[in-house]
């Protein structure tokens, strides 16, 4: 009984390809029609395959049906006939309309161009991430809502507004011209980065879904590397960063689905292949003349693939955080830098620096100070951990913090 699993799998991989190709073929004002045709194709597949059994080549079947539906659409839609049809004929320099091309190379090309269309500055960033998931990765509003820990209606409305904007502005589906590419690629990389983080750091308990988000972000990044224009030092650095992080995916969650802290992870579970890939992309990222935040974060992540505490490791991590904070401040980088500082210079110096950070409202601040004080002043450490426990609303974190306090109290 393989069949029940096949269609959802195909949906995940093929739906977004069909949408990208058809949307690029029709033009952005017809995004909705492209989505409808892709959905109808899968609906027909589930009905037909259920009755008649699987076709020999399910993917080819889907493409043929989608193609026929698309041709049918352009023949019968009046707006398309009067406005877009003539333009396609003129641009293709033939007297007939070329068929939608579902070859692997055109699928890649269409998806890449759709990435740029979606990551357009007129769309708010959080909507870009949602759109990328929906249009480029084939995630439904329910799944996106679960990943973002929000309700379906919020996501649905956000997607509808963003799609309306794309249609109204008739965003071109193309790789931006040379003078815009740097800025536009920046926006694409930001979206890919956020997409990955959504999967890697989100508090959603659905691990399969979180992993899917990470894999999709990496797939989109690979797409960027396969095109000469977008295969830049920065896009290589971002993929390196994601490979290094993703290498710990299996080790950071235990059998009961709870987070395992870095120190307690079994490094046998780290994915060596992903670490090697990360190193490969990190080497590729060296050519550029600018060090981006992705380079710095990838280099930090690289050092974290070395489990053993060495002076060299923490010296390097500290210097990388020093640089990262000068380019791009974030509270989490400030706290991580202080952790590295403690490893290099000891807890006393790090405590002084930590107390200057003024991040009392963040959970990690109290966890860091709890950790640092554990070596110096037990009662203060316990009160920081208690603060952290009070600050978090998540049960799993509350348990983790309560356990830490008990462990500390029973230290010899």
């Amino acid at each position: 009984m393989e069949q029940p699993a096949l269609l959802p799998d195909l949906f995940r991989t093929e739906y977004s390809k069909i949408v990208a190709v058809l949307c690029k073929y029709f033009g952005m004002p017809f995004l909705e029609q492209a989505e409808d045709i892709a959905s109808e194709t899968f609906l027909l597949a589930s009905n037909t395959w259920g009755l008649k059994g699987l076709p020999n080549n399910p993917t080819a079947w889907l493409y043929t049906v989608a193609k026929n539906k698309a041709i049918d659409f352009i023949k019968h839609n009046q707006v398309f006939k009067q406005k877009v049809y003539p333009e396609i004929i003129i641009s293709s320099q033939t007297s007939y309309v070329p068929e939608p091309d579902l070859s692997p190379s055109n699928i890649m090309d269409s998806q890449l161009k759709m990435m740029f269309a979606i990551c357009n500055p007129i769309i708010p960033v959080e909507a870009q991430v949602g759109l990328a998931l929906n249009i480029l990765c084939g995630f439904g509003a329910d799944e996106i809502a679960e990943a973002f820990l929000t309700n379906r209606d919020v996501i649905y409305k956000r997607l509808q507004r963003a799609k309306q904007k794309l249609r109204e502005e008739n965003i071109t589906i193309d790789i931006p011209p040379q003078n815009e590419i740097a800025v536009r690629l920046d926006a694409v990389l930001t979206t890919v980065y956020l997409l990955f983080n959504e999967g890697y750091f989100s508090s959603s308990q659905n691990n399969a879904l979180r992993k899917d988000l990470c894999i999709e972000a990496m797939r989109l990044n690979v797409l960027l590397l396969e095109n000469a224009t977008t295969n830049t030092a920065e896009s290589n650095a971002l993929l390196a960063l994601m490979c290094f992080h993703a290498s710990r995916f299996e080790a950071r969650i235990n059998n009961s689905g709870e987070m395992v802290l870095y120190e307690e992870q079994n490094e046998q579970l780290w994915n060596k292949e992903l670490i090697h890939k990360g190193e490969y992309y990190l080497n590729n990222s060296a050519g550029g003349n600018q060090i981006s935040t992705y380079h710095l974060e990838a280099a930090i992540a690289y050092w974290h693939t070395h489990k053993q505490d060495t002076q060299e490791k923490w010296e390097n991590i500290l210097q990388l955080y020093n640089k990262l904070l000068q380019v791009n401040y974030s509270p989490i980088a400030a706290l991580n830098r202080t952790y590295a500082l403690a490893k290099v210079m000891g807890a006393a110096i790090a405590i002084k620096e930590a107390e200057k950070l003024k991040l009392e409202q963040t959970l990690q601040y109290h966890m860091l100070l709890g950790h640092l004080y554990a070596q110096v002043d037990l009662n203060t450490a316990l009160s920081y951990l208690q603060n952290a426990e009070n600050l978090t609303k998540r049960e799993s974190e509350k348990r983790l913090l309560a356990d830490l306090q008990i462990k500390l109290q029973h230290l010899p």
Binding site: E315, L318, Q319, Y321, N322, K323, L325, Q326, Y329, A333, A334, R337, T338, L341, E353, K356, L357, K358
Partner: protein, 115 residues
């Protein structure tokens, strides 16, 4: 919040002493750790620049003199820009500056925005 320029001055003769690559690396780390500490407080506006010890001074009537400026004993070696509520906070941020370890000084000046 205002921006403040921190100007580092030290003895020119001292800054020209030869250092081994290891010493140089260690000195760089010390500076980076101090600047990183300010950046971690989200108080760094610009990591500034280091200045070469040699230079020239142009005065009225195109009178040019060569540096280093031995006659003023302490020359500007570099600067950064930080943000702070007031001059006292900016002065506190300057504490720990590596220039102080070699007998130099940090001069703290508020930047007046040009509107």
């Amino acid at each position: 919040m205002n921006d403040f320029l921190l100007v580092f001055r030290n003895d020119v003769a001292l800054s020209q002493t030869q250092m081994s690559p290891d010493q140089m690396q260690a000195l760089m780390s010390t500076w980076q750790n101090w600047i990183g500490g300010i950046a971690a407080q989200n108080k760094l506006v610009s990591p500034g620049n280091r200045l070469a010890p040699a230079g020239k001074v142009l005065a009225t009537n195109n009178v040019i003199t060569d540096g280093p400026f031995v006659e003023i004993k302490e020359a500007i070696g570099g600067y950064i820009i930080v943000k702070a509520e007031n001059i006292d906070e900016a002065t506190t941020l300057s504490e720990g500056c590596p220039i102080l370890h070699v007998g130099g000084t940090v001069e703290i000046r508020m930047i007046i925005p040009m509107n």
